[in-house]
Symmetry: C2
Subunit: 252 residues, 2 copies
Amino acid sequence: MSISDINPLRLFVSKLVRHSALSVEEKQALLALPAHPVQVSYNSDFVRLGERVEYACLVVDGLVGRFGQNRDGSRQITALHIPGDMPDLHSMISPIASSALQALTVTTIMKVPHSALRGLVREHPNVAEAFWRECVADAAVLSEWVVNVGRRDARTRIAHFLCELACRYEATGTNVGFEFDLPVTQDQLADITALTPVHVNRMLKVLQEQNIAMVRNRRVTVLDWQKLVATGEFNSDYLQITKSQIAESEAA
Amino acid sequence: MSISDINPLRLFVSKLVRHSALSVEEKQALLALPAHPVQVSYNSDFVRLGERVEYACLVVDGLVGRFGQNRDGSRQITALHIPGDMPDLHSMISPIASSALQALTVTTIMKVPHSALRGLVREHPNVAEAFWRECVADAAVLSEWVVNVGRRDARTRIAHFLCELACRYEATGTNVGFEFDLPVTQDQLADITALTPVHVNRMLKVLQEQNIAMVRNRRVTVLDWQKLVATGEFNSDYLQITKSQIAESEAA
DNA sequence: CGCGACTTTGACAGATGTCAAGGCTTGTGG
DNA sequence: CCACAAGCCTTGACATCTGTCAAAGTCGCG
């Protein structure tokens, strides 16, 4: 089953259910949200810094990065979003984009009008709370990224990122196991980890030589999950996902 | 007038009003929130990682850091909170602390029970929205910190931090101008900027030699604001504060 | 086949970290 | 009022990690 066969909103609802209890009606209202799919091409900004947006985006397929930029043009990805994520859910509350969103590969998103989101939230305060909680969860990830980029050396930093992504994919139930897609160039990985592409390359080589993980052809193969977690100093608590919650969300 | 003479909740309300329109009743309800002051001593964690908290904290006086930690014990401050901030407003929605809070100096906080916050929000959905928006604003700062720590060199990074703090203090109206308190040791500054204390010291020396800013005796003196902004590559947009909004909030 | 984008590698440079010693403040107790 | 201790700041010498530059190799695609 390809990811695109799933109702993309369903993925998002599963994600909400991981941290918020929703009634049947609330879930149905969410699934009934109007949304139209848009194909976004590789490397294109589909939300620009400072722009006022009228809709929030749901990632259906592909990968979306939130970008920060420097005077000298060097880029930093401050958040990475996989299918089922809404990278700018917060825009429904704060519609001036505080950073740009870019597709890191060919990706398809769905635009969900703010008007619909706001209507939904007005009817269902509990959903508002779930949305808010979702924003808080994203902030926890941001906070961990500050630590990652600030205080861990290159090899550790990359390992940590791979762990995070593996867990997040696992939680969606669509890309499970010790092998998953990472449709990202080493240049983009450098923008994620705040390293140079050359150094990313070196560290990936080391990770492979040490039989920890292999990144090749836009695909990650975890060779030794224990070691990867250890070298990444990874503790998944900040992601607020647990196996049991995943099982529960499946029933959504 | 000392900062502690102001009703601390008033500072917080002013902050909300910067981005959210609140009615008179809503403001009054906020100001009527029960809260009792607590003195927190230097370097003490008053919220621990993983702890379930029953109240959110309002910084009244002093400085609070949100901490991330590494296996090797090195620390990273992921957010800094000044008087008028609620460092863990989000805990009312997500009560398991995703990181520790520590006082960086002798500080006084007020504990506001979640029950009261949740009651208020139930009565006033518009306040819920303001709270949510406040959390989003905090996330925007986090995002900027990822860029700062990830992509700027040491001197730039420190300059950027000083600019941010100057603007945030200015917005509160309590610590205005080109000189402000920064009751923080160089070790703590290192934890904020993801540098070593030694290197922080070297860079502060450079900033002073270049007549940009002086940090001495827990106090910052901006020698040339233009230069500081330039060397920090600082653009205050992400803080979502403008002079006009400050004026407006004064009327709150 | 050949072009373009990406990856890989080596040699070298530069920024920041590490270690260690000494100087300055500040507060305390005699 | 002095002496001392503790914490903080400052500095220098040196180590290390990561960045820079440049060239060659690989891969996929038109």
